[in-house]
Symmetry: C2
């Protein structure tokens, strides 16, 4: 009882994800860069920075991201998890709160030097517990793909069903059938056709209808309608 209460350095951390086209197909990538200073100099790390004395952590994340990428490219940002193992930073005790951000597949934000998109299924060694934080961010995003409309933040404003299938396939790292995807998203009221058509591809064929998400803000699909008595 009494005595000094311990105080800690507190850091904001960001897992920024985007589905990108690779030679091996569409795949999820995370924004990272090489650390120039110890600890873990030369390793890849997530964007991070200290929380200021008069800032909430969400404001710190926005400030530190704004210094790296155009914030307008981040279509969704939410708090992910706080990391607090006493030895996670060998230089001093640091508690870190990680945020998850999603960037539409067609965005090409300017990146600062030393920053790159790394495909998440072949991550290099990462500093601190950042590889674990990436796993947590990917798991959260995948869970929310099932019970929310969060895919709006991975997709551009308008897209063909084939393009949306590629985004889901990359985000989930699994095959996705266009017809099942269309049926589920239409039934949930998440997807709507537009008046537009895509430019025909180099192989010609019928032009494909463009679709859009009905809402570009996070909404939870009502999962319990089905439990209600039918009377």
């Amino acid at each position: 009882m009494g005595g000094e209460v311990a105080r800690y350095r507190h850091e904001a951390l960001a897992v920024i994800l985007q589905v990108r086209d690779y030679s091996f197909g569409p795949a999820l990538a995370v924004l990272a860069w090489r650390r120039r200073r110890p600890p873990f100099a030369g390793d890849w790390a997530l964007p991070s920075g200290p929380v200021g004395p008069s800032e909430a952590i969400g404001a710190s994340v926005r400030r530190l991201l704004a210094a790296k990428v155009d914030l307008g490219e981040i279509a969704h940002l939410e708090q992910l998890r706080t990391l607090s193992a006493p030895d996670r930073d060998p230089s001093q005790r640091t508690i870190a709160t990680a945020y998850l951000g999603l960037v539409p597949a067609t965005s090409r934000p300017d990146l600062p030097d030393h920053a790159e998109w790394l495909p998440i299924d072949r991550l290099p060694t990462m500093a601190f517990d950042h590889a674990y934080v990436v796993d947590e961010g990917v798991a959260r995003m995948r869970a929310k793909l099932s019970y929310t409309n969060i895919a709006f933040a991975l997709a551009p404003e308008e897209f063909t069903l084939a393009e949306l299938r590629d985004i889901y396939a990359g985000a989930l790292d699994q095959d996705v059938a266009v017809t099942n995807l269309q049926r589920i998203l239409l039934r949930r009221g998440q997807l709507a056709p537009t008046e537009g058509y895509a430019e025909p591809g180099e192989h010609g064929g019928r032009p494909a209808r463009l679709y859009r998400f009905t809402t570009r803000e996070l909404e939870i699909t009502d999962p319990f309608a089905v439990l209600r008595p039918s009377r």
Copy 2:
């Protein structure tokens, strides 16, 4: 560059939920007690305490809960959210990480003085941002009822379908049809009949079959099986 990095007091916080029987029916309640010291002396608050110098926050939560209730009664515990508004504690800057804990409906843990279960739909004024934290905990629990087997942590080891219906109805604050609930949970492989039957109630009638959850650890329902190509 250089200069002092700010350091903050860091607190662990717990939202412990249980479905309880009230005169108005089964309803969700949260564990809280009255603060004896300022700030907010006399107001209701969630269990909380400072994070120790060599502790991760999860360890702090378990330590502070163990001083209040039998930890064995908490069937599920997970990190919920970190609260960091600079003015959330008027006495000093405090960042708090909240955990969500679930107690089975039949558990009756001994409570210390000043502690009570408060029904969440008629909460009194709460200290700090604790009313908001309760809302976040309830929203997380309800979302997870839809895409995980988390209901195991609200239910006893064995239960009749009518008892399980009451637990879902209290947790969701909505009517729940036993037949729909049974169909969905059986289809997901979450529910299994036991060999046992409940004692007949005071009105007699056929004894009701007892059921159990197939797993009492958190599992995510595979939501994307449906998206896979059928070949």
